[in-house]
Amino acid sequence: MTTAAAFKKPPKKEEPKLTAVLILDVFDQRFAPIHDSFPCFGTLPICNVPAVNFCLSWLMRTEVKSVMLVVSRLNEKHAQSVRNEWKLAFEELTVVAVDGATSVGDCMREVHNRELITADFMLITNPTSVVSTTLAPQIAEFRKRRRENPDNVMTMVYSNRENPEHFVIGVSSETSKLMLYPAANSLNQLKAEKRDFYEGVDIRRDLTHTGIAFCSRLIATQFSDNFDFVGIDDVVREILSKDDILGMSVHVEVLPTKDRAFCAFDYESLILLNTLLLERWFYPVTPENSDPTRFFSANPRNCYLEEDGDEISIKANTWILNDQCSTVSLGQNATVSYDTVILNSSIGAHTDIAQNSRIVGSIIGANCKIGAGCQIQYAFIGDNVTIPAGTNIQKETIVGRGVVFPKDLPAIHNSAVLKSPINEEKYEKLTSQHIGSVHVAKFRHGGPFWRRAVDGKTFFGVDDEGCSDEEETSDDDDVDDTTRQFHDEVFESMQKTLESENQVMRNLILEINSSKLACNVTMDEVARNVFAAFLKLPHNQQLAPTKDLIKKWRDLFINYYISTPESLRKKTADQQRFEIELKKKCQIQMLLSIEDRTEKDPEFLTRVPHLVHFLFTEELAGEEAILEWHGSIDEEERAELKQKMQPIVDWLEEEEEDEEETDEEEE
């Protein structure tokens, strides 16, 4: 029926403004060497302005009126000072301190647990994210998608820039839906299926994530449902791998080329961000108007001086006239002497630079002393560092707080120079060595501190590679490599757990889940391989110990094979049905892994009926799953197995009938 009312505009409903959740810390051990100088990544100075100021400066221009600064408890005071400086710019600016946060995931879980998120929000996972626009078209697009389908849970913002890691994604050219996302251990490759061709998927590595995502509340729920999720990548992989189950989709919004965006994740990109900001690429976000409490003067040739009433002292000829210097930010009372060349760098407050030095593409902290005739190119130098005259610092070096740089330090690639040794318990990926008066830290896997990706490949820890070596030796059939790797990793984790004294199931589950994410295997494969690995344990060569261990590790099996009333209670009826169906499939996979085992170990066959019966009585395998599995056993090839299982099946069926009878009687 068409009435006049149908043509009237619907009453305009004001959409609630997005809340921004800004995570102030970066959880990467790469930044351990500068932790003493800059404990909180958000307040790390870029152009002598705390990085997060740029972020808040553009946030202020967007529709966001309420910002949540999420920070680990240790850095709470930094967050508070940021809050005090910026609270007038927003209607609401709160600090959420998280105890013992070690990942973005931890932060999100805390935020979710405190029920701070009530509606759609903007998640900024990196405090150095800078964009030059208000993001209004992108936010509108996100809202439109949410209205069309509430399951469009997330829109990630990408910028047009070839990313150094050659991280590839597949995006549908028509709907902007994210279709393909690489596995955690191979960022450079994707598997394309037929439907991707039908969808018209663009496979691109000329895009870079800006660290900004518009999310529905469900994203926060995803983090808290999966306590092993570390970053937003894990959520994306989860959503994509369970596309058919969760029915959620992630979209990608690419900023037009006229809008600039950037975010830094290693030293190389920090230096680049520093240069880009000094060159005013992100106008109106510029160094001189991004700090509400300090005054910077902007001068020709992109020179910025911090002023506090006292003039900056300039020795000899004013260096501003020295046209060899450009694109520089100088902190308060920094002194620079004649004939020094500084390009694309930031110099901290009270730092003194003697004559004839050459500084290119570096960030130098406060209160440093740099002698005459030094060569510093592409270095990151913390506070209170002394560099004696005539030192030539190796490119791409990181110098920690308070170091007196030894002139005769041998060149060591991919390292950081520190005053004190690395706390190896806290930073298990790093190691340090005492050389002369300083300590030199390196990554255990040998990769550089300076950049995350080398020649387009991201460096992964040694552990991953170790596994792949073993895998080659144990490869006996054509099973998918990743599945095999997953199986081996689970097996190893189980062995370790078995050897440990207090066999904590929670930890084992964590390990298995992280293997699952790393190898990008499906739920079915997980269910099958977890039990296969379990059966393979040397401990389980007899029936009795197996039974005991199943009882002891009950939590593990509950997690993967049955739906507990607690987990069901939270969900809607549809989801519940789904969950139950899913777990049934998992149980069938478990039984299939038993079937696989009989092939490799004929002796095992005799134990199968007992084991299956035991699983049934322990309620780990349901009646339906057992019957369905039994029906699927090949009568010719596995005749013996089928025969052996027959009595149990008969018994189950009888029982079912009995039950029905009793039901009828009750009625």
Binding site: S173, L190, G200, I203
Partner: protein
């Protein structure tokens, strides 16, 4: 600048349209009464190619020669045709080219006999020269296609899946939809190209411009037998090697180039192109004339967008719409023929209705019969007053399916 050599492949068997090709070679299947192969031949001639090799089975070579002569195409576009007879053993297209390599002496424009189009190939040749590429494949997103009559399936599926660098047209993956079975792992591809579009909207029209050098190398590779399944992927892979000189491009046929383009290797496409090509038929095949026209006021026959040959008879008060009626047909009074192909010598009784169907040579359709979405095979008779839908009338009991 030296000229290209044309290669016209007329040896294909037409395995995807068995219902039509059991007693006639695919290249001789009529499209609006003209053997199919004349269309690609005319495309080559119109592109200014004067040296054309035609691969053909020995038995039908004389027929081809006769048809070419009849068409008078060579009078308008003088060219040197060279027939190369092939034996049944030659298997794939690449095998053919390998075995007769000595005959091809320059860069070649290879055209399959089922490429029916009024588009000009000159821009493709220019593109081939400008990009200095090894291979250029003609792809089109406007290929006419439709569900074949007689089948129940709805929309035709995509026929090719490919990966293209959208900005340049460089080809990074090409595979027939049916041949694509396992997911492909993209790694080398992505190293070379930062952005790739995966798509299924284009059809590979089996028109390829290939460098002579690449063809010469063909003979050295033993396991290449099919052109599309082996040779093209081989060339595409070569692009990803470092310092490789090989470049494969796709020429995306612009919509303003030509009204009609079809790759008539399935019944659906064949059927549809028969109806669609009429717009430019008189221009392409001048020797056939304009066909019969009717004066509605005199005999109340209304014909729209149809081609009716001079020798066909049409009864009064008939309605003919978007159809082809070939020589010596007898169409009764008050019949309705819509969206159909009526082959030579077919008789349609008074008051019959034929919609979206193919009626093959010599068939008869009884009075007041109603046929929709059917194929009536050669010399079959449809009884009067019968009503058929989605069927293949071929005198054999078991139904024929699309796949």
């Amino acid at each position: 600048m030296h000229e290209m050599q044309g290669v016209l492949l007329c040896s294909g068997g037409g395995t995807r349209m068995p219902a039509l090709t059991h007693d006639v070679q695919k290249c001789l299947l009529p499209i609006v009464g003209v053997p199919m192969f004349l269309y690609p031949l005319s495309s080559l001639l119109r592109a200014g190619i004067t040296d054309i090799k035609i691969f053909v089975r020995e038995v039908i070579q004389p027929i081809l020669e006769k048809e070419v002569k009849k068409s008078k195409l060579l009078e308008k576009y003088p060219a040197n045709l060279d027939y190369i007879t092939v034996s049944q053993e030659d298997y794939g297209t690449a095998d053919l080219l390998k075995n007769h390599q000595s005959k091809i002496t320059r860069d070649a424009l290879i055209v399959s006999c089922d490429f029916i189009s009024d588009a000009s190939l000159i821009p493709l040749v220019d593109f081939f020269r400008a990009t200095n590429s090894t291979l250029v494949a003609l792809i089109a997103d406007t290929c006419v296609n439709a569900p074949a009559p007689g089948s129940k399936s709805k929309k035709p599926r995509a026929s090719d899946v490919m990966g293209i660098v959208e900005s340049t047209g460089q080809l990074v993956f090409l595979c027939g939809d049916d041949d694509f079975d396992a997911p492909i792992l993209m790694e080398n591809t992505l190293k070379t190209f930062p952005s790739i579009r995966l798509t299924s909207k284009y059809n590979d029209c089996h028109v390829y411009a290939v460098r002579h050098k690449a063809l010469a190398q063909l003979s050295r590779s033993k396991h290449i037998s099919s052109f599309k399944a082996d040779f093209i992927p081989h060339l595409i892979e070569k692009q990803f090697e470092s310092d490789s000189e090989v470049k494969c491009f796709a020429y995306r046929l612009p919509h303003e180039n030509g009204y009609v383009t079809a790759h008539a290797n399935t019944i659906g496409a064949y059927f549809e192109v028969n109806k669609a090509i009429q717009k430019s038929f008189a221009r392409l095949m001048e020797y056939r004339g304009n066909g019969k026209t009717f004066n509605h006021k005199v005999d109340k026959i209304s014909s729209h967008e149809s081609r009716i040959e001079e020798s066909a008879q049409v009864g009064k008060e008939s309605i003919i719409k978007r159809s082809v009626i070939l020589d010596n047909c007898r169409v009764g009074e008050k019949t309705k023929v819509k969206e159909s192909i009526i082959a030579r010598g077919v008789a349609i009784g008074n008051g019959a209705s034929v919609t979206n169907s193919i009626v093959c040579e010599g068939a008869e359709i009884g009075e007041n019969a109603d046929i929709t979405n059917c194929i009536v095979a050669k010399d079959q008779k449809v009884p009067a007053k019968s009503k058929l839908q989605n069927e293949v009338v071929d005198g054999v009991d078991d139904g024929w399916t699309d796949d």
